[in-house]
Symmetry: C2
Subunit: 615 residues, 2 copies
């Protein structure tokens, strides 16, 4: 019942010309990880398989005592949402593409996970007798095998090392990252250890701080790398090569770990191109760095963003991402069109990819998986056995039921049976279709938000005409209050505020952070009532927060209701515009938060704001 052998590693023998096995990277394991012994219990599971054996050994409760007879759900059909339209490359925003389309299918289906399924194949069996019992740390067999095949054949068919990757299920990507850090980093503390022993975590200059902060108590220092719209820079000052090649050992060990969100990066929405991936990978290989690729937004790559951006700004040429062609197809045009994971450029086996159901199904699933070379996955399995053991069987069986369809019951339940049998589960193609529908939804939201923000970027003001001037014309001044890129992926618009264009900038002693603080509060007041995330919340170091974190706001177009994206985006723009009209210092200083809100030390808090609960 534990680590099962149903799926054996492809035991191909390496040839000199063909794919080579992944590198042995065990020298990068933490001391704790090296001390983990491989469980020998596996040898004993054979005994459990003796026909008719009476198991007085395992300390398991009997399934007849579980109070759940079924788990059931009403679920969406895979085609509920409309994919992105094909007109994305035409360079203009069609009305249809920003209006919410009616659902392609509002119908739903009923799924039932029975107490006992009559299926005997453990890779297809989904029932409560198995799902609610102690299980295997790598994942519930049916779901594990589905996801493993999906990862190997559909998501990442071009992994170059021999035998390909394995997966292990996690309790979401925060859990997955915690396990990767446990596996690959040593705890360091100032009071006890030498500074030269301190390990580091490479990350983007603006990063998802829940991840970076999660590493901080272990003593890992965040090592930011400069970024642009395509992700981490490899060259130039502050780029990856600069950071690694010119590492100052007096600050600690040269980092051997990188944490990166490569598709719709949080918060900047950058999309790491294929060429940039190859460049970063080459440096990581040279400097022996393991890449932890956290990609909750991989399926949200927006083909229309570049052309819509160009159209909105009257530019003749859109900054279109380079096309990529991989050797093997994913089997789906949509997946083929997505920039592929680092895994596909990883002969060494130094990439660990985190996937999650948080954004594709729901955050409350607390379910995801890690993909990587089998030897490291085995170490993560050992860590899992003595911590989370396995994700909850409730969510594992319900997700398995959704994608794999209904089960023939041992004792068929009359209720809903006909209905259940009419639904065969999403299967792989339905899963891909669901993702494509979600991409369509989010892409239209993105377009709505960006359209509204675009309209409010500039403050236009008619100069007071001089007396002698002809009243038929006037001078219009145009002040740029902020800029942003239309996100090529993800859930966020990363807005760069130009506080130096505010009329009070000089009078306030060029105190940008003060302007940022007051604008943030001002936006929460009537009639704007718009809450955004200050850029300081994504600054891996205090220096970055102080230097430029305050210049940014992150706006998320995912959380609010569909029909309010435009309204709140317009309110943001209106609020900024009204704030830029404040010319009187007293009026500025009178900006107060709504009553009962304590904003003492708000600047400090704004920099710390981690939104620990949100990805």
């Amino acid at each position: 019942m534990a680590d099962f052998d149903y799926i054996t590693m492809d035991a191909a023998t390496p040839s000199s010309s063909g794919p080579q096995p992944p590198k042995d990277l065990s020298h990068l394991y933490s001391r704790v990880t090296k001390q983990r012994v491989q469980s020998k219990v596996k040898d004993f599971y054979k005994y459990f398989a003796i026909p008719g054996i009476g198991n007085l050994a395992g300390g398991l409760p009997n399934a007849s005592y579980f109070p759940y007879e079924t788990l059931e759900a009403q679920v969406a059909r895979a085609d509920r949402f409309t994919p992105s339209s094909d007109d994305s490359s035409e360079g203009e925003i069609k009305k249809a593409s920003i209006t919410k389309k009616p659902s392609a299918s509002s119908a739903s289906a009923h799924i039932t996970v029975p107490h006992a399924s009559s299926i005997t194949d453990p890779l297809r069996k989904i029932d409560l007798t198995t799902a609610l019992q102690y299980g295997t740390a790598q994942g519930y067999p049916a779901l594990y095998s589905f996801l493993r095949q999906f990862a190997r054949e559909n998501l990442h068919p071009n992994v170059p090392y021999l035998g390909g990757p394995d997966i292990i299920l996690t309790n979401g990507s925060t859990d997955g990252l915690a396990k990767c850090l446990e596996c690959l980093s040593n705890v360091w503390s100032e009071e006890k250890d030498w500074i030269r022993e301190r390990e580091g975590l490479l990350c983007e200059e603006f990063a998802y701080m829940n991840a970076v902060q999660g590493a901080a108590p272990r003593g890992l220092q965040a090592v930011p790398v400069k970024i642009d719209l395509d992700g981490m820079l490899t060259t130039g000052p502050g780029g990856l090569e600069d950071v690694l090649a010119n590492w100052d050992e007096s600050k600690g060990k040269r980092p051997h770990l990188m944490y990166t969100v490569t598709m719709g990066q949080n918060p900047t929405s950058s999309l790491l191109s294929v060429q940039r991936r190859k460049d970063i990978y080459a440096l990581c290989s040279k400097y022996d760095v393991i890449i932890i690729e956290d990609d909750p937004y991989w399926y949200l790559q927006f083909p229309s963003a570049a052309s819509h951006e160009a159209a909105a700004r009257g530019l003749s040429a859109a900054r279109v991402p380079e096309p990529h062609v991989m050797e093997k197809t994913t089997g789906f045009d949509y997946l083929d069109s997505l920039v592929p994971s680092f895994l596909n450029f990883d002969p060494d086996g130094r990439v660990l990819r985190l996937d999650t159901f948080s954004k594709t199904v729901a955050p409350g699933c607390r379910l995801g998986w890690i993909t990587g070379q089998p030897a490291i996955i085995e170490r993560l399995l050992r860590i899992t056995e003595t911590s989370t053991q396995q994700p909850s069987g409730f969510v594992q069986s319900m997700i398995a039921g959704l994608v794999m369809g209904p089960q023939p019951h041992v004792k068929a339940l009359p209720k809903n049976k006909a209905e259940a049998m009419s639904f065969n589960g999403w299967q792989v193609s339905g899963w891909v279709r669901w993702l494509e529908g979600l991409r369509g939804e989010y892409e239209r939201r993105m377009t709505r938000m960006c359209t509204a923000l675009e309209a409010g970027r500039f403050q236009l003001k008619q100069q007071t005409p001089t007396k002698q001037a002809d009243n038929d014309w006037a001078v219009i001044s145009k002040t740029e209050m902020y800029e942003f890129d239309w996100p090529r992926a993800g859930m966020f618009v990363w807005v760069h505020m130009f506080f130096n264009t505010h009329p009070l900038f000089n009078e306030l002693g060029q105190d940008g952070p003060l302007l940022a603080r007051n604008l943030w509060i001002f936006l929460t007041t009537s009639p704007y009532k718009c809450l955004v995330t200050p850029g300081g919340a994504f600054s891996p170091t205090p220096a970055i927060a102080a230097e430029k974190g305050w210049q940014y706001f992150r706006l998320c177009f995912a959380a609010v209701d569909d029909d309010t994206v435009t309204m709140f985006s317009e309110r943001f723009a209106q609020g900024v515009s009204a704030f830029w009209k404040i010319k009187d210092r007293k009026e500025f200083e009178a900006i107060d938060p709504p009553e009962d809100l304590d904003v003492n030390n708000l600047e400090g808090d704004m920099a710390d704001l981690g939104f620990a609960w949100a990805c």
Copy 2:
């Protein structure tokens, strides 16, 4: 949306005569735990509460994109199983008490967790919009508040420190223990650290090894304490005082952590009495030890065990546990009758108790909670935020629905509505009734197993009468092959084998471990086909495994089907009896495992056998 303030700590002021606050034990936190900063994000949640605010800040997906419209289940009524009968003190095993009684109620009810509930109180709201969204690390508000109140008022109403304990939900007790170890122990490795820095974990002489092994990679050394039927010994050689008072610093630091299963200990089924608790606690307080009490079997305390044991053995007096009287009642006779947790004798706040749904609902829940003083619970909350974040919303909402009843929907679903409304959830009284029913089931199983084992303890053999003897009488020799205590709690019978009474003992060079190995294999062969756990699997140190681990088998009466407990218990006794009849060395050496089973190094494996997947 994160750590919420709905339930505030009882902010009572200490008086010199009344309860005092728990002690500050932060000097026992690990270095990593000390480095965790308190999240300041809490101050910002107020902004989310501004009426009509547009949340463009949080990176959450919108609930309308969740593919689940409902979660539903068919669940047992709380009175499905029959409690233990009241005749337990009469000193004889009534037929009725070992025969499976018909279920009191085979009826089940349907529960539905709707997409959106119309309830506004977050402590009573159970819907997918909240349960499948990012949530609070301490637990889903409805379930957290239910469990917190249950823990404080019904399970442990006598916690002596001011304000009482708090709780945090876990992903099961293995996860809970891992978090406690992360919170309270420092990583140590031989290659890097001084031996004097090595920390230790006090545990029972025979212990649940998945827990102890989980601590091993961190460098914690297991420090066993001698035990008897009542649990850890406090006095005498190898008892707790001896271990702590005479600690040899050259082996590491004196342990500041204890891991203990106090009710139905795994594997010995010992039940720690109230007096022994007080004695152990006094020593832990004196030597500043934190007690991690892991009690999955607390509700399985068997009042009939002592009298049935006495009756089966013809003893005049049963070893009945001392009665206990606590100041405050739990509100339920059944709960009042259970030996109370260490928490009730803990003025210092040095007890962390692990509870789990694994044995009361199902292991696959991966759901439990930790109870302890608020300051330590807060540290565990910080650890949770950067690892598991929260248990899966699937299981949290489904358990909440089971105990708290159906929700009025925003958009009422016609189907099942009438049915759902007829079921009001188990509530506290139903939950207690369910536990009492389970206790009845397991107590009857225990009685059946022990009755069968009792019948086979001795080998009776008629001596060959000498020729001159009168054939009317014969000498009967009685060989005791094993002994055991009828478990006062838990799921296991801990059988002490007397291999020195085996006819081949001397011929085999008094090689007890060899006899144990071959008996273990012999039992798996036809016609016995009975799998038991070798005692070496529960030996915290190689020395204990070598000295006496091989003398024990653990038999679990929980896992097999109800109607086969007696059959497999009898087969065990028959197998042992047949094994004791083997007088020929060649026959002994011919004992082979079933085909295709590799038992190389079986002894080693037997000692390692951790059953990582089972409690």
